[in-house]
């Protein structure tokens, strides 16, 4: 009651997440750059519009790709106790989410193509509210499976219809 600050969740995500975020954002920027190059070649605009736009894209992309993964890695954290799941995510905009274990409806893991390359998985914990899924990105596969297992057992023990 008197304490008025929330500590960060205990666990960092796997360090390989940095590489994963880098590759994923790089892929996104490559798509944008490719589209720009195609337009550049196809339209043959006389002005220097295209080179300038392209240079801006490259600059923003470099800044994003070099800063975002490090920043994200410092922010992304998670913790699961007997009573609650607590996550922290984001980088520029950050969000902390807390949900009681008793109100958990589903726990599932997902592995996208890039995550598979790095042996990572993400865990999504949903509650009855459409606004509150907790996502933990960048866990090592084994750690993700263990977490799902653990939460499933605890959720079943809690019972109730979770609304």
């Amino acid at each position: 009651m008197t304490a008025a600050s929330l500590r960060a969740p205990a666990h960092l995500v796997d360090p390989r997440a940095k590489a994963y975020w880098t590759v994923r954002s790089l892929a996104g920027w490559l798509v944008i750059a490719a589209v720009q190059i195609i337009v550049w070649v196809a339209v043959k605009h006389p002005d220097a519009v295209h080179p300038i736009l392209f240079a801006v894209t490259v600059a923003v992309a470099l800044a994003h790709v070099s800063v975002m993964p490090q920043w994200r890695y410092r922010v992304h954290r998670w913790e699961a106790t007997d009573t609650a799941v607590y996550t922290q995510s984001g980088w520029f905009n950050q969000e902390r989410r807390i949900a009681p274990v008793a109100r958990i409806q589903t726990v599932d893991t997902q592995r996208g193509p890039f995550e598979q390359v790095f042996g990572l998985a993400n865990v999504t914990v949903t509650t009855a509210s459409a606004a509150g899924p907790l996502k933990i990105h960048g866990l090592r596969r084994a750690a993700a499976d263990a977490l799902v297992e653990d939460l499933t057992v605890r959720t079943q023990a809690a019972g109730g219809d979770a609304t």
Binding site: M1, Q105, S129, L134
Partner: protein
């Protein structure tokens, strides 16, 4: 009027077979679908005439009408439902067969609607709200087209089941429950109707339909008599008079349309509470609508005051209930507990529903001054972008340079708006309700029961962190799914969350 629930119960459960909806729907579906396809049909007809070949237009439009009607009837043929002891099941689709099921003990709301056409044929549409988080099953299960008696009986059967299967003491009572009237439409409330702006939506919809007919039929609107007359008149007058005339015309149209809309939606409005605490709302002139909200699904109420309505001293009262997602799908509007009415009345009804008036009347805790800076800065940023775009357009198009000063008005409106948005911010925790107020264009004061809060999100943008602010979001399975307390001081956000739901944050506090 009502078939005893038990009789229906027994009949339904003996015969677990799939049933069709009322065959009278064969008359309803084609008419409704034709109505929806009307712009295309009219368009095809006009296009045919325009092309000079007189008969092709009528042939095309008849063809379209035929196909639409066939599909509409097919819908009835392929749809079946059944009620088992545990579930309501609905099966439909020809190519892609779908079966949807609603567990009876998860039924949260039952909404019985009857459009004009339904009513003349003695039919009603039952939509059953189940608040699962399963994304596909999120929308209500809709039985479109049961006999009206059947629909009413089904509603009481679904809602007045014993609250818990483990308590068989109280068998399903035949429903003749005592009811308490909480509110009834007062014709004097009609004075708030023009301030609701619902007419603007109607106007836009009409404009859209007209646009489609014009577009698909390649009509040259310049040749239409009334349009020409108006356009000529406007060309004669000076610009300022034109603007004034158009403004007045739009305002009058919106006011009249809003009033008509109010009358159509809320004639016969009644809010009652039945024995088990279930709330019933009935309303509607042409389309009658009856919504039931079970007590254990009700998590709170919301007072909403759109800007215009607020200046007129009015407010609406909405229910915050699980299974009633605000503004979504078939249940749209099902959450209304009181149409636009004097604010005092809205507070009274809200208090009656909650059982205490404190959450709606208690003075709220104001937010830090940094929040005011942020509200105004955000509004200003929008106004500056808009103003720059406007000025750029003026310069590029070479319009009168006097127009360049218009963004000045944007900026002053933005400051006023930002200031008012700050004044709206407030929160409190009273009698087990989390109360939060937010918004200027639509100011909402929401009271959500703390035990309906199923998690907290604490959000902070880069700029909020610099100001030491946090937006606290209470997530819930009811209503809008999340209710925000915007821009609290970091420490206050944590303290407030901890106070509302004791224990949850405890392990993470330092």
């Amino acid at each position: 009027m009502t078939v005893p629930a038990q009789a229906l119960d027994a009949a339904v459960r003996q015969d677990g077979n799939w049933k069709r909806l009322s065959p009278r729907m064969l008359l309803v579906h084609p008419v409704i679908e034709l109505g929806k396809a009307l712009p295309a049909i009219v368009g095809a007809f006009l296009a045919g005439h325009g092309s000079g070949n007189d008969s092709s237009g009528s042939r095309w439009s008849l063809g379209i009408a035929g196909v639409v009607m066939a599909f509409a009837m097919l819908r009835w043929v392929t749809t079946r439902y059944r009620i088992t002891p545990a579930q309501v099941q609905l099966r439909h689709g020809l190519v892609r067969r779908q079966t949807r099921a609603a567990p009876l003990d998860r039924v949260r709301t039952v909404d019985v609607t009857a459009h004009l056409l339904h009513r003349t044929l003695g039919l009603a549409r039952v939509s059953i709200g189940i608040g699962t988080s399963d994304r596909k099953g999120r929308q209500a299960l809709v039985l479109d087209g049961l006999g009206a008696e059947r629909a009413a009986a089904l509603r009481s059967e679904l809602l007045h089941r014993p609250a818990d299967a483990a308590q068989p003491k109280q068998p399903t009572q035949p429903v003749a429950p005592a009811e308490v009237e909480l509110a009834r439409l007062d014709p004097a409330w009609l004075r708030f109707a023009p301030f609701t702006l619902t007419g603007a939506v109607t106007g836009l919809a009409l404009l859209g339909i007209g646009w489609r007919i014009v577009g698909e039929g390649h009509v040259n609107i310049g040749r239409l008599g009334p349009y020409r007359a108006v356009a000529d008149r406007l060309e004669e007058w000076p610009l300022a008079v034109d603007i004034l005339a158009v403004f007045v015309a739009v305002a009058v149209f919106v006011a009249v349309a809003s009033t008509v809309g109010y009358v159509l939606s809320f004639t016969g409005f009644r809010l009652t509470r039945h024995d088990g605490g279930t709330l019933h709302v009935t309303r509607g002139l042409l389309t009658s609508r009856a919504t039931s909200i079970e007590r254990r699904r009700l998590r709170g109420v919301e007072l909403s005051e759109p800007l215009l309505l607020r200046t007129a001293g009015g407010a609406r009262c909405l229910a915050v209930a699980t299974g009633l997602r605000v503004g979504r799908g078939a249940e749209r509007g099902g959450e209304i507990l009181l149409p636009p009415a004097p604010k005092a009345e809205a507070v009274k009804v809200g208090a009656a529903v909650l059982g205490t008036d404190a959450p709606l009347t208690v003075p709220l805790v104001a937010h830090p001054l940094a929040a005011r800076r942020r509200r105004i800065a955000r509004a200003l940023a929008g106004a500056i972008v808009l103003g720059a775009a406007f000025d750029a357009a003026v310069l590029l198009a070479g319009w009168d340079s006097a127009l360049l000063s218009v963004p000045g008005a944007f900026v002053s409106v933005a400051v006023a708006l930002g200031y008012d948005r700050y004044c709206s911010l407030g929160h409190a925790f009273v009698r087990g309700y989390v109360v939060t107020r937010f918004g200027s264009v639509v100011r909402r004061r929401t009271a959500v029961a703390a035990d309906g809060v199923i998690g907290w999100n604490l959000r902070s943008t880069f700029f909020q962190r610099r100001l030491g602010l946090t937006t606290l979001v209470a997530t819930t399975a009811a209503g809008r799914q999340k209710y925000s307390v915007a821009d609290l001081a970091d420490a206050d956000a944590v303290r407030f969350a901890d106070m509302c739901v004791p224990g949850l944050l405890e392990p993470f506090l330092t």
